[in-house]
């Protein structure tokens, strides 16, 4: 087997085992007397959520502007300019909101998690935890994964509203759509399925990004150079996995 393929399967196995271990410590272990690290989880939620809020809002605001301008061109030709708001809302809720939020999380918080855990691995802090009888997955990984899985959907919701506001600015001040009509069409075209599919996607993406970030952090080898390499691998793998899982989830929601 080519070395690249061997490495790929090694990473896949390692990541799957880490996800299973994380699920055990997050879901089953609390029922077996191992307390969930709630304080650490809230700390991570603050770091991930508050820290990514501004950049998420900026990205989604610009996306809202772009979507409104792009859809206006086509809708003008068929006389459906009032539908701009609805199209922006549906697109960001179903697809662009969860995906771009996850990509922002991968680039900002995921990279930070990998670098932090990688440095802890290199400086023997993870070994120190183990020798104290503390499980690194319980102590380090679960708070980060839960923190990101809680904050992913929250950031997505905020991002969706910011994108809709971006679309509103173009729709009202450039295309001349009545504000009330813009908002009514926006919410009319949003189905319940759009909301829950978007939320499920954002939870899945956040779970993937956080687990990938933690996996590459814990498996760092070779000092500072290794930390840099793992951080790059973490972000690239996260983005590829976000898009691949988005394709799969979209297919599932499309056919059910």
């Amino acid at each position: 087997m080519p070395p690249t393929l061997t490495r790929f399967f090694q990473h896949l196995t390692g990541l799957s085992l880490l996800m299973a271990d994380t699920a055990y410590w997050a879901v089953l272990a609390p029922f077996r007397g191992k307390r969930l690290r709630v304080d650490d989880t809230f700390k991570q939620m603050t770091l991930i959520g508050v820290g990514s809020l501004l950049i998420c809002c900026m990205v989604m605001f610009f996306i809202g502007l772009v979507l409104a301008m792009q859809t206006a061109e086509t809708l003008k030709k068929i006389g459906g300019l009032s539908l701009v708001g609805g199209l922006v809302a549906a697109a960001v809720m179903r697809e662009i909101g969860p995906m771009l939020t996850a990509i922002v999380l991968a680039g900002r918080s995921g990279a930070a998690i990998t670098a932090e855990l990688g440095t802890m691995r290199v400086s023997e802090e993870v070994d120190a935890l183990e020798t104290m009888g503390l499980n690194p997955v319980h102590f380090l990984i679960v708070p980060r994964v839960l923190g990101m899985m809680f904050m992913g959907p929250c950031l997505t919701i905020v991002g969706v509203f910011v994108a809709m506001f971006g679309g509103y600015l173009i729709g009202v001040f450039n295309l001349g759509i009545e504000p009330a009509i813009y908002w009514r069409k926006s919410f009319d075209m949003l189905a319940l399925k759009d909301i829950y599919s978007g939320m499920i996607k954002s939870v899945v993406f956040a779970g993937l990004v956080s687990n990938i970030a933690c996996y590459f952090g814990l498996t760092v080898e070779g000092g500072a150079e290794g930390v840099g390499l793992s951080t790059t691998q973490s972000v690239v793998t996260s983005i590829v996995m976000i898009i691949a899982s988005d394709c799969l989830l979209t297919a599932i929601f499309y056919f059910i």
């Binding site: 802090e125 120190a128 009888g133 503390l134």
Partner: protein, 284 residues
């Protein structure tokens, strides 16, 4: 004294090789990396109250040996007993109970940079005794920090204290649960000679006062002879010599005397391939 035979007599019961005075026993330990035996048939015992120093050149397997004993790696062959438990047979949960009986001081200190010195020392206490009131934990932390003379630095982060203070803070954390056993990996690495002497005196004092048995990995000969009650010299994954510091000094094996006197090896490795062959034991 050249160690050749296993310290485990054939008439000894296989399930309990620890004598009444022994706290650690290692039997025929082997660690294999990529088909190469980094540790090969290593056997020794540690008696209660001893300070055993494991010495050897770079790449001889001394840190690997320590990692097997503290459970960070698993040996391919051989068995290890700590406090009457065969740790090579234990589950992770069972081994975590054994881990409460020992403390580990890592080469870099391995203090958590996101926590203060006091929080670092408090961590094992809070995690293993979650019902202890904060006041009790604070008193315990102050006691541990006073042992290493760092009481006034409890509120500082590791990045704000010197290298020597980091080592002492890490020692305080290693002693947080009043362990019977202390493992130190290159405890004096990176310290100036005065700090090395201070740290050695501290280790000796704490081991005597607290009745702690210590296993110290080092290649600092001055420090090793200052603190050791017994010594092991590893060479290419095998025990080349074992005994008291006086026995090691009196050893007639040229490799042993060259190592403790810091003489260069007769055969200088000038290329990478030769160096790798040498540390992997393939040049014989």
């Amino acid at each position: 004294m050249i160690s050749s035979a296993s310290p485990f007599n054939s008439d000894q019961p296989r399930n309990g090789p620890l004598g009444p005075d022994d706290i650690i026993a290692v039997e025929d330990l082997a660690k294999i990396y990529g088909g190469r035996r980094v540790l090969d048939g290593v056997s020794f015992r540690v008696k209660r109250g001893d300070i055993l120093v494991i010495m050897g050149g770079s790449g001889c397997g001394k840190s690997t040996l320590l990692r097997q004993i503290i459970g960070l790696q698993h040996p391919e062959e051989g068995r290890i007993w700590i406090e009457g438990r065969e740790i090579t047979q234990l589950t992770e949960g069972e081994f975590n109970e054994v881990r409460k009986k020992f403390g580990v001081l890592f080469q870099s200190g391995a203090l958590f940079n996101s926590m203060t010195v006091g929080e670092n020392v408090a961590l094992p206490i809070r995690e293993h005794f979650p019902n202890q009131p904060d006041m009790t934990v604070d008193i315990m932390v102050k006691m541990k920090l006073s042992l290493v003379e760092l009481t006034k630095f409890a509120e500082l982060k590791p990045a704000e204290i010197s290298g020597g203070m980091k080592k002492r803070a890490a020692l305080a954390r290693a002693l947080a649960l009043d362990p019977k056993l202390l493992f130190c990996d290159e405890p004096t690495a990176g310290l100036d000679p005065i700090r090395v002497t201070e740290f050695d005196d501290l280790t000796l004092r704490l081991c005597r006062e607290l009745g702690v048995t210590a296993v110290v990995v080092t290649h600092d000969m001055t420090s090793a002879f200052r603190i050791a009650t017994r010594m092991i010299l590893l060479h290419k994954g095998k025990i080349m010599a074992e005994g008291t510091p006086d026995e090691i000094r009196a050893n007639t094996n040229p490799l042993v005397s060259d190592f403790i006197n810091g003489k260069a090896e007769t055969e200088v490795r000038e290329d990478a391939e030769g160096y790798l062959r040498a540390i992997l034991g393939e040049d014989n």
